[in-house]
């Protein structure tokens, strides 16, 4: 497809389980970003990838959160031992990464922790 694709669109899981969220960026976009949107915190930056490396992980809220990117394309955000406060919409965005380029967002994954 032409846009950023995220899966699943919705995920419900029990507290303490691990979850994996997937992002397929726009083809050719070298920069990839993860954000979290929650009622209490608004929109927050989590992590930035340039190619397969992550020069900025400053937004990850705890060591239960990790992310990787392979082949300069697909990225996976993993949350271990989920807590109720992890409930949020997780948004992925990609850009050409050449400066001044706007980010294109996916529709997000709505994560609910029971």
């Amino acid at each position: 497809g032409a846009g950023v694709s995220q899966s699943p669109s919705n995920k419900v899981t029990e507290k303490g389980k691990d979850v994996e969220l997937r992002c397929d960026p726009i083809s050719g976009h070298t920069a990839l970003y993860w954000y979290r949107q929650s009622l209490g915190q608004g929109l927050e930056f989590l992590i930035y990838f340039q190619g397969n490396s992550a020069p900025d992980k400053s937004g990850l809220p705890s060591d239960r959160f990790s992310a990787e990117r392979t082949g300069g394309s697909v990225s996976t955000l993993t949350i271990q031992r989920t807590q109720q406060e992890d409930s949020a919409v997780y948004l992925c965005a990609s850009s050409l990464g050449q400066g001044k380029q706007p980010q294109h967002f996916g529709d997000g994954t709505r994560l609910s922790i029971l």
């Binding site: 929109l43 340039q50 980010q103």
Partner: protein, 115 residues
């Protein structure tokens, strides 16, 4: 560090009336400025951006925003709104740092158009 303030969390406006959504930012470095729109159950869509040059930028659907450096503002305006403009609007900034263009967002303004 950067911050973005959107003072109005909700703005109700009658159809065909003008609207202004306010955005102020704080940053120790030069920034790029953006407005994103989010329709229900969808991701964010770029509405318009200021990178450099003319301080007045326009979108294809009639919105405009003006960068005011002295007032550190980037207010969004539309002279006549339509029902389809009902959405949440987010103002955002990023450093003028080649490479890492992570966005810092405001808390959003929910625009409701009254028929």
């Amino acid at each position: 560090a950067q911050s973005v303030t959107q003072l109005d969390s909700q703005v109700p406006v009658f159809e065909e009336a003008p609207v202004e959504l306010r955005c102020n930012y704080s940053s120790s470095v030069s920034v790029y400025l953006f407005w994103y729109v989010q329709y229900p159950n969808q991701g964010l869509q770029l509405l318009l951006k200021y990178l450099s040059g003319s301080t007045l930028v326009e979108s294809i659907n009639g919105f405009e925003a003006e960068f005011n450096k002295s007032q550190t503002s980037f207010h969004l305006r539309k002279p006549s709104v339509h029902i389809s403009d009902t959405a949440e609007y987010f103002c955002a900034v990023s450093d003028q740092d080649f490479g890492n263009e992570k966005l810092t967002f405001g808390t959003g303004t929910r625009l409701t158009i009254i028929p």
